[in-house]
């Protein structure tokens, strides 16, 4: 009988953190993707047909950011590689639109991932198509007469559509249609209108097969998913600790305040990535002294995530800069959002100083200009036609990048704001 030494509390906590962090940050693949059964089966069937039966296919997986496209693909590929025939034969080429920004770079990457650098050597090819045909031909010589099936995964598929002439896409889809080699082309993209980006000749070679990943979770399923994400797996070395932990997580999910927080998040975005950032911030507070999750952690994490960064930045401005922002807000209110220039803002400010202000004394125009330029640097004010500087600086038209509500909220929180400035901001007419 093997003696199982129970781990210390610190080790348990550390191990729990490790597991949770891998799940939340490193996007470790779950055993089965949640609520994506039909898409999973569809994709698996397609890939099986390519791998085992030698049928060429092309499919696009479309879904908003964070909806689980890469996760779905990862799970499917994992299951595919567990099949014996696939393991021996299938070659995987993974391209990413962010990295392979050019067709030449993409071709080099394909050569590298197929391990055909030596075969290609120093050959010079006339066109992309020739190069690709050579590569696929080279795969044939390896074994028998039939070539090995190749699965091309194109991440950020819409970025490939911006390459010159879309040669890579055209050639890959051409190969998938002309049945020389069994090839599966899988594209992952976040753009719903990706087909509009493709040229006519490319679009006609595409099989128009799309798998959509729109999250269809209800709120109850969402809370269940939260519980599942936070629970420790059954094969945790210390069952007592994991039971206690899972119990506390279940109780946490039933509390009203936590439910409110989760509902707020659910209403703004259903995808798992934003959920993971919320959970990660709460889980990172767990340590030896604080060994279970409390609702205060979740509350704090939620507040951090939903903070308005522009209103926070306004908190650190000087009084002069704040007055300039209020002057711009008044100009926006009076003239319905038409662009203004520095002279107009300075004029508003001068009117305020002369009529209403007691605490702020007059500043010279260059000092006010320097404050205005600080606001420009913070990008709270932007020129209308960015870059064209044929006009003098004082007369260049600008827009305020803040909303009425944000300015008023920032004023409430501003430390030691003089009352006449507040009154000026609240008055309807300057």
């Amino acid at each position: 009988m093997s003696k199982r030494r129970s781990l210390t509390e610190a080790q348990c906590v550390s191990l729990a953190q490790k597991l949770l962090r891998e799940r939340l940050c490193h996007q470790k693949l779950p055993d089965r993707p949640l609520a994506l059964d039909s898409q999973y089966k569809h994709l698996l069937e397609l890939l099986r047909r390519t791998a085992v039966h030698g049928e060429s296919n092309s499919v696009l997986i479309v879904g908003p950011r964070g909806s689980g496209k890469t996760m779905l693909l990862g799970c499917v590929l994992r299951e595919l590689m567990s099949l014996k025939e696939a393991q021996k034969n299938v070659l995987l080429v993974e391209l990413n639109g962010l990295l392979q920004t050019d067709d030449k770079i993409a071709l080099k990457e394909i050569t590298r991932q197929l391990h055909l650098e030596n075969v290609v050597g120093d050959k010079v090819f006339g066109s992309f198509a020739e190069n690709l045909a050579f590569l696929l031909e080279a795969l044939k010589k390896g074994d028998k007469s039939s070539s090995r099936p190749v699965v091309f995964v194109l991440d950020e598929f819409d970025l490939f559509a911006h390459h010159k002439n879309q040669t890579l896409l055209y050639n890959l889809l051409d190969v998938s249609q002309s049945a020389q080699t069994p090839v599966a082309v899988l594209g992952l993209t976040c753009r719903l209108d990706v087909l509009e980006l493709l040229e006519k000749r490319v679009k006609s070679r595409f099989s128009h097969r799309q798998i959509h990943l729109f999250s269809s979770l209800s709120f109850a399923q969402y809370v269940d998913a939260v519980r599942a994400q936070l629970s420790l797996p059954p094969d945790f070395p210390d069952p007592k600790f994991s039971d206690a932990w899972n119990h506390s997580v279940t109780k946490l999910c039933e509390e009203k305040s936590v439910e409110e927080i989760l509902r707020r998040h659910f209403n703004s975005s259903k995808d798992f990535r934003s959920l993971h950032s919320l959970l990660f911030l709460s889980v990172s507070r767990v340590s030896v002294s604080h060994s279970t999750l409390h609702e205060a952690d979740l509350l704090e994490a939620s507040r951090l995530i939903s903070a308005d960064s522009k209103a926070i930045i306004l908190h650190g401005l000087s009084i002069l800069e704040l007055c300039l922002i209020i002057a711009m807000k008044h100009l926006n209110d009076t003239y319905d959002g038409e662009p203004f220039n520095f002279q107009m803002v300075h004029n508003e400010f001068k009117k305020f100083i002369q009529r209403k202000s007691h605490s702020i004394h007059k500043f010279e125009k260059p000092v006010v200009m320097k404050a205005f330029e600080h606001l420009l640097q913070l990008e709270l004010v932007r020129p209308v036609d960015s870059g064209v500087c044929k006009v003098q600086r004082e007369y260049q038209l600008m827009r305020l990048m803040l909303e009425h509500g944000q300015v008023m909220e920032a004023l409430q929180r501003y430390p030691q704001c003089p009352t006449d400035v507040k009154q000026w901001a609240l008055s309807a007419f300057a």
Binding site: K18, L99, E109, H315, G316, I319, V367, V391, Q392, E394
Partner: protein
């Protein structure tokens, strides 16, 4: 600022706690990207780098201003993590694909035992580099399959960074700014001169903040101003005119000096060396030679009139020319049109272009002696354009009727017209154009009363 003292301020502490929590388990994975934002000189780079050094975490710190091309960034990161030999393997103009491939290769040889951190300072510059650099770096952990976290530090909020089709959203943290009472005075008092008491320096800082705090909160600027002006503050003490407890006297001595500093050193019109020299030989009360041209530009006689004529041409609409410049005009009628459209006042919208003929017409009516239209007069117009007091509008190849715009402000024109021995009628014209067309501001009123006083003389 390399002070070893710790901050005791609640806001900053709570942010620091969160940041350290994230980095606290170096052998485990951390969130792929973190974005820290806050105003200038709030200590973002300093604090993050100090944490890295104290916890002895492997990190690569890159300032994006130095990275003119993305290859420089890749080079710095690879040499910080894997040594200069790895960086030498990068090809000539490395693409992001080369960087990721090389990183994967190196990290499979030496996998990360602790989380590696890439710190990108002034990350707002990355938006101007390759469009795919920012989204790729935000998900670098996934792309290279290694335990690496990217920390972005910036002054600008995250909403301005997000690419069009979205990207991996980092965790956002805000570094709070300093409050006047507790933190700022304390930090600035760290620079106190050893030969004076800290209380004296603290009262000096309070006086300085009283003048400058409503204008500027940047710690670096305030420190610079504090260091420059302290010797002037201590002058009465050294001369024996006041004791350390005579705060009022010291305040009366330094306050006008600080006001002058706001108009010169703060605006960088004068260099700090010039400022210090001026403090030393302060008896003559010399006027400082400021950078901007206003005080000391010397123009020939007719150029001054040309410039005044150009100003009048730019800021008065053409239909009012007859009223102002012809001797036989009727009464001056204030039109309702001008009153209603206050915003479209020329003084707010900027100078309008005018053709050369109109400039010459106004010039002849403004100048007091008879001037022949010689080449020397016309060449002065071109020199005014070279000096950027006038600017040419339209194409260079339009030789027939070139158009110009006046690019100087009213203060400059008033200064010029004062030093030219100008007749009353000129001031009259300026005053009239201002009163009819501009907002009612005290400056114009006073000018009008000054003009009417001159009439009475």
């Amino acid at each position: 600022m390399s002070h070893q003292k710790s901050f005791q301020y609640a806001d900053l502490l709570s942010v620091l706690e969160r940041v350290v929590d994230i980095m606290s388990a170096p052998d485990q994975y951390s969130y792929p990207s973190v974005f820290i934002y806050g105003h200038r000189a709030t200590g973002k780079s300093h604090v993050v780098l100090s944490i890295m050094k104290d916890l002895e975490l492997p990190h690569a710190s890159v300032d994006c201003v130095e990275c003119v091309s993305s290859g420089l960034l890749f080079h710095q990161v690879l040499s910080a993590f894997f040594g200069p030999d790895a960086a030498a393997l990068l090809p000539r103009c490395p693409s992001l694909s080369d960087f990721v491939r090389l990183y994967k290769q190196m990290s499979s040889n030496s996998p990360a035992t602790q989380t590696r951190y890439i710190i990108l300072d002034r990350a707002e510059r990355m938006r101007d580099m390759d469009f795919s650099l920012l989204p790729a770096l935000l998900r670098l952990q996934e792309l290279v399959n290694d335990n690496v976290t990217v920390i972005l530090l910036s002054e600008i909020v995250w909403e301005k960074f997000r690419p069009n089709t979205g990207c991996f959203e980092p965790l956002l943290f805000h570094f709070p700014d300093y409050s006047k009472g507790k933190s700022l005075v304390q930090i600035l008092s760290w620079d106190h001169h050893p030969s004076y008491t800290p209380e004296l320096y603290a009262s000096y800082i309070n006086i300085l903040l009283g003048v400058f705090f409503s204008v500027c909160r940047d710690l670096r600027e305030l420190r610079h101003l504090a260091v420059l002006n302290f010797s002037k503050f201590c002058e009465p003490l050294e001369k024996g005119e006041a004791k350390e407890s005579d705060i009022h006297k010291l305040w009366k001595n330094i306050e006008p000096h600080l006001q002058r500093a706001m108009q010169t050193v703060y605006l960088r019109e004068v260099s700090s060396v010039q400022w210090e020299q001026q403090q030393m030989d302060e008896k003559e009360a010399t006027t400082l030679r400021v950078l901007s041209a206003h005080a000391h530009i010397e123009l020939p006689y007719y150029s001054k009139f040309l410039l005044i004529a150009a100003y009048l041409a730019s800021f008065n609409p053409a239909r009012t020319d007859r009223r102002f410049f012809l001797k036989s005009h009727g009464k001056i009628r204030k039109t309702n049109f001008l009153k209603k459209h206050e915003k479209t006042s020329n003084h707010l919208l900027g100078p309008k272009p005018f053709p050369l003929d109109r400039l010459m017409a106004i010039f002849y009516s403004v100048v007091d002696s008879r001037v022949a239209p010689t080449a020397s007069v016309f060449s002065q117009i071109s020199s005014l354009v070279t000096l950027q007091l006038l600017s040419q509008v339209g194409h260079d190849d339009q030789l027939d009727s070139p158009k110009y715009k006046c690019s100087v402000s009213l203060d400059f024109i008033l200064a010029i017209s004062r030093c030219v021995c100008v007749c009353v009628r000129l001031l009259d014209l300026l005053a009239l154009s201002l009163v009819i067309q501009s907002q009612v501001v005290r400056q114009e009123r006073s000018l009008f009363t000054a003009v009417s006083n001159l009439h009475l003389l």
